[in-house]
């Protein structure tokens, strides 16, 4: 009998002993601690921050460009969210250009990355007396320091992407916990934000190599990284915006309780313009200026001296699929340039004179594409222009292969050529690289000219740098005429920016900072109706209205997402939303 009791006692002890710990048997996922220990893994954290840079080629709904939310273009598919910019049906809940979370995600990554850089374990090299190991140690130490400035630039860039949309935003430079008290969060003033971004640019500019070929950068592996030029270029853009009308004139939002969120304190405008021109000049003076080469090819490369900073991508043909004319293989029409844009390209009368295009001029109206600024043909596929592989002439006339009334044919009478790699055969699924350029030299030139014209009209540098943009190889448009008034020069610079940077996501912001929304975005978007004479084959062109567009003053800034206002009641919504 006792025996069995013992047996039982043994069982009981066994049972209790088996009450094992509940830890996982093994962990298969890598955690932050493991990542932060490793030099290579921390570098990968930085790579992931670069991946948050915007790519404007397939931007809204994976298809539409921001240009389709401006007077540059119309997006063909009615179902794309970009249309709500044009119909005015966007709001604090539904915004096609919804970047608030995207950039705050990137900002959080930077905040955490800056902590991670301090945790990298370099002991394998530091403790190794071998001289070559010591060299690696020093190189790695320097690299980690440099990464921090790259990351801080990227954070400043993302903040400015928020600021140009929302005005002053919360500056969150430490990663918050999920259970933080969100009810206390407030917006920083616009002035705080601008100052922060500028000071981050200044810090980065001091510490980063001048350009991808300056040691310790080696172009073969480091091309595409943030450079001193990138930091200076961002500062130039930021200070130009800070000097412009929108951030200095809150009159459009009369009665708004918190003007400090949407405009800078009243101050010396000339000083702001001067700061902007100085910042642009700093880029110009930083390095020998490149020769501006071929315009069309620029947008299909990431390796060109004109490019200061670009968003890199793998090879693809999605852009061609979306934007090729409807009658071409796989074409879906996509972003189609407007007559408003086409009209902005000047007519070159001779080597020294260019005039505005005018439909009321019978000669121009009869032959609207003759003698135009060469960039028109490089940007736009017009009727009867050759396109694609295998090449054929675009038939944009009524009943042509690419024209109305084909379903989803261009509504404007044009197709987009810029950024398209025409040599790709889509049926064979050929691919190529598209470069979404964030900063290139001509922007700096025009920033400089624009700012200079405001506080120092008549300064000879205005013509120098305006002409520099227009004189590039293959464009060679006449320079700035002499004897123009300050306002005429301003208009010339603005038109030059419109033309040179068509579809590069400048127009949406420039028109806003110039406070010309009602003029350009509140007016009908135009296209052209083309008919072909069946016997002679001659074309006739008639401008037409494609779409009524809406612009209300509230649209100068984006509404802050309603979700975050609900969670953080101290965050004040932008005016009129």
């Amino acid at each position: 009998m006792k025996r069995y009791s013992y047996l039982f006692a043994v069982c009981g002890v066994l049972a209790l002993a088996s009450c094992e710990k509940l830890d996982r048997d093994f962990v298969t996922t890598i955690g932050r601690n493991e990542i932060e220990q490793s030099f290579g893994n921390v570098q990968a954290l930085l790579n992931a921050i670069y991946a948050d840079l915007p790519d404007g080629t397939l931007y809204i709904g994976g298809a539409a460009m921001m240009g389709a939310a401006t007077d540059e273009a119309e997006f063909t598919a009615e179902t794309n969210a970009v249309q709500s910019f044009n119909s005015g049906s966007w709001n604090a809940v539904s915004n096609p250009d919804f970047v608030w979370d995207r950039y705050y995600r990137g900002i959080r990554k930077v905040n955490q990355f800056l902590l991670s850089t301090g945790k990298v374990n370099l002991d394998p090299w530091r403790l190794d007396p071998n001289p070559s190991a010591q060299t690696v140690y020093q190189t790695n130490l320097a690299a980690i320091k440099r990464w921090a400035y790259e990351a801080r630039f990227l954070r400043a860039f993302m903040y400015f992407e928020l600021v140009k949309r929302y005005g002053g935003v919360p500056l969150l430079n430490e990663a918050l916990e999920v259970d933080a008290d969100f009810s206390k969060t407030q917006r920083n003033t616009l002035d705080d934000c601008i100052k922060f971004i500028v000071s981050e640019c200044d810090s980065a500019a001091l510490q980063l190599p001048l350009n991808p070929t300056t040691l310790p950068y080696v172009a073969a592996t480091d091309l595409g990284r943030v450079t001193k030029l990138s930091a200076l270029a961002l500062k130039s853009r930021v200070l130009l915006y800070a000097a412009s009308e929108l951030f200095n004139n809150p009159s459009w939002a009369a009665g708004y309780a918190k003007p400090e969120y949407i405009s800078l304190p009243a101050g010396d405008r000339n000083a702001r313009w001067k700061a902007a021109s100085d910042a642009a000049k700093a880029v110009i003076d930083a390095a020998p200026l490149p020769n501006l080469g071929a315009y069309k090819a620029l947008f299909n490369t990431f390796n060109n001296a004109e490019i200061i900073f670009t968003r890199r991508n793998g090879a693809s043909n999605q852009f061609e699929r979306i934007n090729s004319p409807i009658g071409f293989p796989q074409g879906q029409s996509g972003n189609t340039p407007s007559q408003n844009l086409v009209d902005a390209y000047e007519v070159k009368v001779n080597a020294t004179t260019a005039v505005k295009f005018d439909w009321n001029n019978p000669a121009m109206a009869a032959n609207p594409y003759a003698n135009r600024d060469p960039r028109l043909e490089m940007t736009v596929v017009r009727n009867d222009a050759s396109f694609g592989t295998p090449a054929r002439k675009a038939q944009l006339y009524t009943s042509g292969l690419d024209g109305k009334p084909i379903t989803n044919a261009s509504k404007t009478g044009y197709y987009l050529r810029k950024y398209q790699i025409e040599s790709l055969n889509l049926n064979n699924n050929n691919t190529g690289v598209h470069s979404w350029i964030i900063f290139r030299y001509p922007e700096i030139y025009l920033n400089y000219a624009e700012a200079l014209n405001e506080w120092s009209p008549g300064n000879s540098d205005i013509k120098t740098f305006y002409d520099r943009v227009r004189s590039r190889t293959g464009v060679a448009m006449p320079g700035l005429p002499t004897g123009l008034s300050q306002a005429e020069v301003r208009e010339a610079i603005r038109n030059e920016k419109r033309v040179e940077f068509a579809f590069e996501d400048h127009r949406f912001w420039d028109v806003r900072r110039w406070m010309q929304g009602p003029t350009y975005f509140g007016t009908p978007l135009r296209g052209v109706d083309i008919t072909r004479d069946a016997t002679t084959g001659a074309f006739s062109y008639t401008p037409s209205t494609v779409e009524q567009r809406t612009f209300d003053p509230k649209m100068y800034l984006y509404p802050i997402p309603q979700n975050d206002l609900n969670i953080s009641p101290l965050i004040v919504q932008n005016p009129l939303w």
């Binding site: 049972a15 509940l22 093994f26 990542i35 990968a44 991946a51 709001n91 539904s94 073969a220 979700n563």
Partner: protein, 970 residues
Amino acid sequence: MKSTYNISVQLIVLFILLLAQASFAQTTESDTIILSNAPVKSLFKGQRNIAFGVQPAQHVSTAISTVYGSDLEKTFNLNLGNTLYGRLSGLVVTQGGAEPGVATPGMLIRGINTFGGASNAPLYIIDGFISNGTGPSNAFMQLTPEEIESISVLKDAASTALYGARAANGVVLVTTKAGKEGQLKVSFTTRQGFNQAQALPQFLNAYDYSVLYNEALNNDGLPIRYSDADLEAYKDGSDPVFHPDVDWYDQVLRPTSYASSYNLNFGGGDKFVRYFVSLNALNSQGLFKKFGDLSDESIDSKYAKYNFRSNLDISLSRRLSVEFRIAGSIEASSNPNNYTTGSTFSLLQSLPPNAFPVYNPNGSYGGNALYANPVGNLISTGFYNNNSRTILSSLKFTEQLDMITKGLSVSAAVSINNYFEQGSRKSKQYPRYSVTRGVIGDTIYSPPVGQLTSLSGAEETLDQYRNFIVQAFLNYQRTFGKHDISAMVMMNNDNVTLFGPASDPSNPTANSTDPYKHNSAAGRLTYVLNEKYIAEFSLGYMGSEVFAPEKRYGFFPAGSVGWILSNEGFLKQSQTINFLKLRASYGLVGNDIIASQGLSTRYAYTPTFGGGGYFFGTGNTGVGGFAENAIANNNVTWEKEKSLNVGLDIAFFKHFEASFDYFNRDRYDILVGSNSTIPLYLGVITPTLNQGKTNNNGFDLALRYNSANKKALQFFAAANVFYANNKIVFNAEAIQLNPQLLSTGNKIGQPLGLKAIGFYSADDIAQRSIDPKSVPGVLTEVIRAGDIKYQDIGGPEGKPDGIIDGNDRMPIGNPSQPALSVGLHTGLRYKGFDLDLVFQGVTGNTVYLGGNTFHAFQSNGQVAPIAFGRWTPQTAESATYPRLSSRDNLNNYQFSSFWQRDGSFVKLRSAEIGYSLPAQLTDKVRISSARIFINGTNLFSWDNIEYGDPESLTGYPVMRTLTLGLNIQL
């Protein structure tokens, strides 16, 4: 369903004839067999299995319903779940697919209580140990009715609290038969019969198909495809090669297939050893034709299951006893290789009748690039054998510790369970050819699609688990005068390693073999005073390895009280009320299956990194990135539920019993996307947090009627009713200007779709050409007269915008789970005859008519009779179906109320009629009883669906099985 009706009528006639015949034969018999026990067991007598123990039914103060193996035996089914339709109050069983060995029904206790990735499935316990796996790998589904003593469903917190963080969805508790002291009893049962499809989808023949296809082309503004001569050829069938008319279902399925089962069990014992042994074999052939007989490289569709069980109870000494249980099952199925429920039946449902002939004139398979040949797929692609093995074993020692104090005992138990499923695939390919008529009337063969290959093989492990469970108990049970006390403390530790069903079974991920571990301790104290007042307290304490180390353990308390009024003086003598008890319980329970059990979701307390690659250098070299995907959530925890149950048990007029329960369940800490609580500026991918809340309330009711035992004609009925109404109370959804799109406030699983409001008229289309937004429509399709028109209620600004899109969706119809379900088990015994019927009915659910069976010509598919009601200019007023389109129509076949139907039904799930031979006869051959019976499952369905079975509109048809059986007891 016309076919069902015909068969039903035949069956009724058959039953009546048999009954009449039999009762005629019996009329002169004088020795009526008096059955010792009532046909259905009392709700309030005997012992009840409760969590880790048993309790006298009178003392139960929680919500439990029970069914007995002897009732379930009167069905022919491939898995245990299929025997439970309509059997237990509060347990809703829904038909899944019907493919043998693959499909098991859905089972929910008191409806749905949670949403998102969380599981609603109950916890299955077999003889005290958890049962793993889902679907057919769930050991519960593998059991046979013959080995089961009872199945109890524990429904409220007080009955399940001991299971702690696994208890909130309720518990299905199975107790298998144990041997009883006494002489050897042997029972042998066999059933022989056949399967047939309960309903098959119908499609139009080639002539009707072609006529309607021409109409569809015409509607789209395209030239017609079939000339009058073509139509004539389809009509008279004169040209089976170029104008074939193939009924593909007919080519692939046979009307009936063979089914049989054999069960042998025996038990007995003395005061030292008691044993129960059960052996079961079941064989059910699939509905496919015998393709294995046609080709050595195919195989007949077969399914077989073999079960065994051996339960031993041994008294090692006066105080020490041991229970040893070992049981297992083997499932083996064979099918043609290219057969899977999905692909074969979706091919059959889409393939037009005139696509190609089965065989071309030269004997090759017909077919084209778009469609394979279903017959070729089943004959000439090899075969697939699948088998699985389950082993359940346990050993439990119990020592009476009366020497310490009377009524005290201690137990220790260990259980090892194992499951393994393996597949053997032999595959090959075959060529198919499409034919065209040449200019001189000759037959021109296209180049082959697919090519002939030789048979090649692959072996794969599909699914497995192994678990190891250890338990220890201290029990105390004693009565002191008026006081009855029982108490129990226990601990349980289980460790389950499982993988699969893996998406790629040959490559299980490391994470899928990371064991699931649970530790728990629990206790229960029950006090009964004077057989009148009952109080019970339960406490579970459980830890689960999926949570952060400091967040693993939690307490789950529950209490219940009962008052047996019928033992009070004022009711004791009542002739009307024989028994009356009031019950109430309240408690807290948990559910730790809070998210799908995948790599990234199982351990929410660890972050995951990945993605975020970029490009650098002149070579555009890709570099890897580490982006934080899901941030670590250290606070992640199990769902909790506060559950209230109030019940009333009553027996009256001797023959009637009723048990009524009202319940209210508040589930909270459901894992949901934190859209409305976490600001976007936090900069993380919206985490899932324990924030969701639901409420579910309703009632269940069980009724019993037993006629007096001694009458010649005995009648019994056991009915149950269940009603539940659930609601999402909080879901942290992103703000929405179209509030009808929010799920908060709706039922769980409420479908959101467009509301159809008729068809566009010609006037509508004319109006649209002037101002498109004046008659709202979609942007993705050119709308024509006869297309389905939808209500425009939303837009980007939260108001109608003249465009039909996702903003116009709204709650339509009901979820697929019924709100009200009813079960009825009834029957009678007259002399040697017995009749046993099980009905199940549900209402408050919606079914959706989707796919090729209902959407004419979509995805190059065929057309069903439902399309005869199509819109044409002439039938604009009476049309019941949109205009036909030959292309995929992006307007008409959107998810909308147009395709919803009321899913209510009443089904006769099982019927059995039996005759027991008179005792004088059986005595002569020295057997204690012999009974012959006819059994049918899934005999009738009364429902609102004209074109099939509301529970399985597509896929493998639900099988109706008719068997003739014999039971002999020695």
